[in-house]
């Protein structure tokens, strides 16, 4: 066995433990990517679909808090 294998394995486990993104990905269905990849050719929608990451004051939404505030606005509409 590679003498460095236990060290590499420990480093890998540590990186997974401290990285929430990695741990979340590990909980997804294994075929998630296959259902979230669009086909090469996509038709245009019948009506334009306005950018959702802009709030009611035309400010760009960059944080989850700002989106949740916009979400509340949308629900009221």
């Amino acid at each position: 066995m590679d003498p460095y294998f236990p060290v590499i394995r420990l480093c890998l486990l540590f990186s997974i433990a401290v990285n929430p993104h990695v741990s979340i990905l590990a909980q997804d269905v294994p075929w998630l990517r296959s259902v979230t990849q669009p086909p090469i050719s996509i038709p245009a929608p019948a009506r334009p679909l306005p950018n959702l990451l802009v709030d009611g004051d035309n400010q760009i939404i960059e944080t989850s808090q700002a989106w949740l505030a916009r979400r509340t606005e949308l629900i009221r509409l």
Binding site: H21, I24, L25, Q27, D28, V29, W31, L32, V35, T36, P38, P39, S41, I42, P43, A44, P45, A46, R47, L49, P50, N51, L52, L53, I61, E62, T63, S64, A66, W67, R71, L74, I75, L77
Partner: protein, 285 residues
């Protein structure tokens, strides 16, 4: 719509025992003076650990909840039974279009008499939320692990339920039709003239975005009579999934395009159940 009933009393009308579990026909208050019926399917419990619960919303069929709950119809219509066999407690409420109404027009007329100006979709959302109220109070249901499943009419209801009710952890919507023009959203029991009013500012990419970051699987049949979702659904998914950027999470609005038309094939049903099992699990984000 009014506030949902505070009286959550459930009357059990029938109970049947099967190898996989029990099926009960229940009735509960839904609006002042009105009750609705639903089937509740419960797998046998091997311990007291609460199970995940699913609101399974039936498609357009005069068999209504009898088909989805396995009382009548073909086995491929018995989707709630398949879901229950996979370990979920499932509630299947009857859509208001068939509850105490002669036909759809009568149901819509009654609804508009009680609630002038309220769309049929708003009534369907309200009814689905009442079903969640009942489901989350059932013994052995974990109220933090509620999902939603629906095909066709039921899928339309899932989209609105998941968008407007944060109790729904994950959803599967087969052939609901995201694009207004993809299906009969303009019917008086759905959105009516709003769906064809080009000056109306709302669109269904917003609806999809309201579900984020809770995982939603769409299933589409692409072509053939009644096919409502498929390649034409992608612009809405892509427009909505931009919201995932602010959560720093992978996109969890997915589409399975089976290309076999409007009916839900059994293979895709099982994929949908796998989705619900995964994303209503205790460890799911």
């Amino acid at each position: 719509m009014p506030n949902r009933p505070t009286d959550k009393t459930v009357i059990t009308l029938e109970r049947e025992l099967f190898e996989w579990g029990t099926r009960e026909l229940i009735e509960y208050a839904i609006e002042p003076g009105l009750h609705v019926q639903a089937y509740v399917l419960s797998p046998h419990f091997i311990n007291d650990t609460p199970r995940a619960g699913i609101v399974a919303l039936h498609p357009t069929t005069n068999l209504t909840i009898s088909a989805i709950a396995g009382v009548a119809g073909n086995t491929d219509q018995h989707t709630a039974v398949t879901i229950a066999k996979n370990g979920f407690v499932v509630i299947c409420p009857r859509c208001f279009l068939w509850q105490n109404a002669k036909d759809f027009s009568d149901a819509v007329a009654q609804h508009h008499t009680r609630h002038p100006g309220v769309t049929g979709v708003a009534k369907m959302l309200y009814d689905a939320q009442c079903a969640v109220d009942i489901l989350e109070r059932l013994p052995n249901v974990d109220p933090k692990r509620i999902g939603a499943f629906g095909h066709s009419l039921g899928a339309k209801e899932v989209l609105y339920l998941m968008a407007f009710d944060d109790r729904i952890r994950a959803g599967v919507a087969s052939e609901g039709g995201i694009a207004f023009e993809s299906t009969n959203w303009d019917a008086p029991w759905y959105l009516g003239p709003l769906a064809t009013n080009i000056s109306w500012q709302r669109n269904h990419h917003e609806l999809l975005a309201l579900t984020i970051p809770r995982p939603l699987l769409l299933i589409g049949g692409e072509t053939g009579p009644g096919a409502a979702d498929g390649t034409k659904t992608w612009p809405y998914i892509l427009a909505s999934s931009t919201v995932y950027r602010v959560f720093d999470l992978p996109n969890r609005i997915g589409l399975i395009n089976h290309g076999q038309g409007h009916p839900l094939p059994s293979k895709e049903l099982l994929k949908g159940i796998e989705w619900l099992i995964n994303y209503t699990s205790v460890i799911a984000p």
